[in-house]
């Protein structure tokens, strides 16, 4: 799956865009021929893959005079520009190199467009794994969740087009319901510092923005990816009509069709997947306002490896000891049970108003409808009935206000959301997650202040109110067993047979805060320091889980008494951007009080057999780590990239390591580009993942029938698999035909077809990872 869209790049143009008052312009459009970039909230932009020679560069922003200039590219250039508002007659462009430090103190790690496109037939989680400090929590090959500095799921909200994605994200087997092909820009904030998006990002935030074009043009892009492993591919097509004023629109769709993935030694049966996605928006830009409507639809069917379905812990022992999946069938495109079917609709109305030259207002309403069906191996008439069928509806509205006062920027906003979860009773299985309604209200304020050319500071505060009311049946025996008798009697509304009908209700008041500085040590070296306070409420699975987890062979039990989790994360980033050498080094410390986790507490016997019981518990946790990356261009055409990530997680109450912490991983990439020959590039990437030696020992014993005797067996669910080293190859070329261009890329993932298992794959006890994949990708720009 690794293909590299060489950005044929010889040269990179980077810099910042700001107003005459030194406030950064977010969303300015930078283009040169067919290349586009959008400036970040701190005004920063990068435009890669610019051919050598004299090139026209246009930088524009609505309401501001466009900069149109020609630059002679012989090496990488820095272009910091100040755009004048339209109202000012004098068009003056200030070209500076290395101006004062940005006011923004939040360190974002961006994925390059090239990387996003290379993972066109994979997932958001796969692409994000290329960033230092980001790992992937997988279930098989196609369900991939990003892990930031050791944390994931509810601790890492995904913000898609300024809307918090509500797609049952608490679940470890629930990947973000988002098509990577609809993203124009993907970045990661490793902490809770971006308070405008919420105060509960204990692990960090994923920010995804669609492609946006601000100049008057129409262009299209199609990417066809064909893969040998899975014997299928992906076709993504999009059309973009940009404008500086008046109407602009974007429309894109993608289709994916893949069969069973293959490990080096066997077919991993029932691991095909399908996707059909659409996203589009229409925007009208007036003199001092713009209005837009956005809609996206994500639809996916994902097969779950059949071998991972087990009935009890004896089956689990067999699966572990066999070292091979119990079900190996010939390759097929057919997706059988178990499988997941998801649909996600997101509709959004957005209104931006320029209140004055230095103040703006944004109003937004978003509607999300998430449908999730999980099919299991069942008997009789229930064969084709999902075992889990959830419908989650979320309405959210927010208002954000921003004002620039010279060296000070003020931001403030309010948000409101209403959520309703409906678990269908037609499944014939007590739902994993009960019906609930949830109301959230939040308000925040952020002040950014540039104290001098060398130093900026930022402080933010946020308050969140949350109320959740659920309706759930509990087995009376379970209610007693969990110690709820006499404690939560007020939740009981009625009874039916051996079950209580309960209506648990929770209210939380949370405060979150952020503090940051950015200090310019030299012209191209900066130090960024951040401290953040985040509070996260228990999610539905932490509160209500109540039963058997089929692929783990565990009984997982929630706790109605859980308190919110409070995290304080401190990090420092050293940034250096030299001509031939760039570096980013980030040590961090995340101290979490009331960290929620699953703790093994005993064994329960049911008619299926004996199962280990895990209860949600709270403890204090400390995560410390180090992310490091460099980019080095020793000679023209040759580039070396390194990323290094390490995290050390400890439950400080029990002094045990935290479970599922990403092992130390180091990636090295060497690429050579022949700029004068269709930008041919060849690349070799080494991915080294070390053995995780720090893990809690949750092993247990169970009786397994063997040769007509019951034999007590150790169930080793804890020991992480051995580390591994993979080599990947990438190559590509670029052909120009007038206004259109074609890129062809050929890549080989896992060249030596190495067999390996990954600690953070939920199916690691059952099957190897998918093996070698040869991918051919053809991209047209027109």
């Amino acid at each position: 799956m690794v293909v590299s869209w060489s950005t044929q790049a010889q040269y990179t143009l980077s810099g910042t865009v700001q107003t005459p008052k030194n406030t950064p312009l977010s969303g300015a459009h930078i283009h040169s021929n067919a290349l586009h970039a959008i400036s970040a909230p701190d005004g920063y932009y990068e435009l890669h893959t610019i051919p050598a020679g004299r090139q026209r560069v246009v930088i524009s922003y609505i309401g501001y005079k466009t900069l149109d200039t020609v630059i002679d590219f012989r090496d990488n250039k820095v272009l910091d520009v100040t755009l004048k508002p339209h109202t000012e007659q004098l068009q003056e462009v200030v070209l500076t190199e290395n101006n004062a430090v940005s006011q923004n103190t939040i360190q974002e790690n961006r994925l390059r467009t090239e990387t996003i496109e290379k993972y066109s037939s994979a997932t958001l989680g796969d692409a994000l794994k290329e960033l230092p400090g980001v790992y992937a929590l997988k279930t098989g090959t196609t369900i991939v969740k990003p892990v930031i500095n050791g944390l994931h799921s509810s601790r890492v909200p995904v913000i898609s087009n300024n809307v918090r994605l509500e797609d049952q994200q608490w679940g470890i087997e629930h990947a973000p319901n988002l098509d990577i092909n609809s993203a124009g820009r993907i970045s990661v904030v490793k902490g809770a510092n971006a308070l405008q998006y919420g105060g509960d990002a204990v692990g960090g935030l994923i920010l995804v923005k669609p492609i946006e074009v601000l100049k008057d043009t129409l262009f299209g892009r199609s990417i066809l990816s064909m893969n040998s492993n899975g014997r299928g591919g992906n076709l993504a097509t999009s059309l973009h009509k940009g404008n500086e004023k008046g109407w602009a629109w974007n429309a894109g769709s993608s289709f994916k069709y893949m069969g069973d993935r293959e490990a080096p030694d066997y077919v991993i049966s029932n691991t095909g997947n399908r996707e059909a996605n659409f996203s589009g928006d229409v925007k009208y830009m007036g003199n001092d306002y713009d209005v837009s409507g956005f809609y996206s639809f994500y639809s996916a069917d994902i097969g779950i490896a059949k071998a991972t379905h087990i009935g009890n812990t004896a089956d689990l022992v067999n699966a572990i000891n066999n070292q091979q999946p119990a079900v190996i069938e010939p390759f097929t495109y057919t997706i059988d049970n178990p499988k997941q079917e998801m649909q996600h609709h997101l509709a959004k109305l957005d209104y931006n108003k320029k209140l004055s030259n230095d103040a703006s207002l944004n109003l937004q309403y978003a509607f999300q409808l998430n449908r999730r069906k999980e099919f299991d191996l069942r008997r009789g008439e229930y064969k084709d009935v999902p075992a889990l069928d959830l419908t989650l509806v979320t309405h959210s509205a927010q208002a954000n206000w921003k004002k620039y006062l010279g060296d000070v920027t003020l931001q403030s906003g309010v948000s409101f959301s209403l959520q309703d979860n409906d678990a269908s009773p037609d499944t014939g299985v007590s739902p994993l997650i009960p019906n609930y309604t949830k109301t959230d209200v939040g308000a925040y304020g952020i002040v950014s202040y540039r104290l001098s050319d060398k130093l900026s500071g930022e402080a933010g505060l946020r308050y969140d109110f949350s109320n959740m009311s659920a309706s759930k049946y509990y087995q009376k025996s379970r209610w007693t067993n969990l110690g709820y008798d006499g404690v939560y009697d007020n939740f009981i509304k009625g009874e039916q047979g051996s079950q209580w009908l309960t209506q648990p209700e929770f209210t939380f008041h949370n405060i979150s805060a952020s503090l940051g500085i950015r200090y310019g040590i030299t012209n191209n070296t900066e130090l960024v320091g951040n401290a953040g306070l985040a509070m996260r409420n228990p999610n539905p699975s932490e509160l209500f889980s109540d039963g058997l987890h089929h692929s783990n062979g565990t009984i997982e039990l929630g706790d109605l008494g859980l308190d919110k989790e409070t995290a304080v994360k401190v990090s420092a980033t050293l940034l250096h951007n030299g001509k031939n050498f760039s570096l980013e080094a980030t040590p961090f410390l995340n101290s979490i009080a009331n960290f929620m986790y699953l703790q093994p507490t005993g064994t329960e016997v049911t008619i299926r057999g004996a199962f280990p019981v895990y209860n949600y518990r709270q403890a204090n946790a400390l995560l410390a780590g180090f992310d490091f990356s460099t980019k080095w261009q020793p000679v023209n055409g040759l580039e070396h990239n390194l990323t290094f990530s390490y995290v050390h997680g400890t439950n400080t109450d029990t002094d045990e390591p935290l479970i599922d912490m990403p092992p130390l991983n180091i990636n090295n990439t060497i690429r050579y580009t022949w700029a004068d020959w269709h930008n041919l590039f060849v690349e070799l990437r080494s991915e080294a993942v070390f053995t995780q030696n720090r893990y809690p020992n949750y092993n247990f014993y169970t009786d397994v029938p063997q040769d007509n005797q019951l034999v007590s067996n150790l169930v080793d669910v804890s020991t992480p698999p051995k580390g591994y080293h993979l080599l990947h190859f990438g190559s590509g070329m670029h052909f120009d035909f007038g206004k259109t261009s074609t890129h062809i890329n050929l890549s080989v993932y896992n060249i030596f077809n190495t067999s390996y298992r990954d600690y953070l794959n939920r199916q690691r006890l059952y099957t190897d990872e998918a093996g070698r994949n040869i991918q051919l990708q053809i991209k047209f720009n027109y």
């Binding site: 306002y289 209005v291 087990i310 009935g311 009890n312 089956d315 067999n318 119990a326 079900v327 109305l349 209104y351 309403y365 509607f367 191996l377 069942r378 008997r379 009789g380 229930y382 309405h395 509205a397 209403l418 309703d420 409906d422 678990a423 009773p425 499944t427 014939g428 299985v429 007590s430 739902p431 009960p434 019906n435 309604t437 009311s469 309706s471 759930k472 049946y473 087995q475 025996s477 379970r478 067993n481 509304k493 039916q496 047979g497 051996s498 079950q499 009908l501 209506q503 058997l548 016997v605 049911t606 008619i607 299926r608 057999g609 009786d703 029938p705 063997q706 007509n708 005797q709 019951l710």
Partner: protein
């Protein structure tokens, strides 16, 4: 512009109200697939007492352990014809899951582990001619003994694997839908 704002507000209110109205209680879900009760019945071919082994777990996957009952002892050297049934007693009347197992016989197999208590033999067949295990014969050991008798219902076992068709569970694979281990005795009358 004002018009647009108003209509946006109206839309928001409408959608909020329509979704708000859902404040009802969760519907009660009948656990359709749970097996609560395994009953293995051993009828002596000659005279004697029928032996009934029952495992009943009325709270399904809940915390209460199954209740095991054994009606009597096996007679040394005696031959029994046996049958096993599976019930879901969380429903009223109880749902008989045995029928589903019979209908989907090729996807199910019941295994018996005698541990020296005697010898089991299958007497039924699925569509492929492989055993299901709902019907069987049991010949009790010749001498008095006590031990564990385990009954296991496997879903989607690999019936072609070595020993599986003759009743050895070791290579069967699949997932366990129900299992019970009974302490029984073989006695000399």
């Amino acid at each position: 512009m004002k018009q647009l704002k108003l209509s946006a507000l109206a839309l928001l209110t409408f959608i909020s109200l329509t979704s708000c109205s859902n404040d009802d209680d969760a519907p009660f879900v009948n656990e359709e697939e749970v097996i609560t009760t395994i009953t293995a019945t051993f009828t002596p071919v000659a005279d004697g007492e029928t032996v009934i082994l029952t495992s009943r777990d009325l709270d399904g996957d809940g915390p209460d352990a199954p209740v095991l009952t054994v009606s009597g002892d096996f007679i040394a050297g005696a031959n029994y014809t046996g049958s096993v049934t599976f019930l879901n007693e969380t429903e009223s009347p109880a749902e008989n899951i045995t029928e589903e197992v019979q209908e989907e016989g090729d996807e199910h197999q019941i295994f018996y582990q005698a541990n020296g208590l005697g010898t089991f033999a299958y007497t039924d067949q699925d569509v492929n001619g492989d055993p299901i295990g709902l019907a069987f014969t049991f010949e009790a050991a010749e001498t008095a003994t006590t031990g564990n008798l385990t009954v296991t219902l496997r879903h989607e076992p690999n019936k072609d694997a070595e020993g599986v068709a003759s009743g050895n569970i070791t290579n069967a694979g699949g997932s366990t839908d129900a299992t019970a281990t009974f302490q029984v005795a073989v006695v000399v009358p």
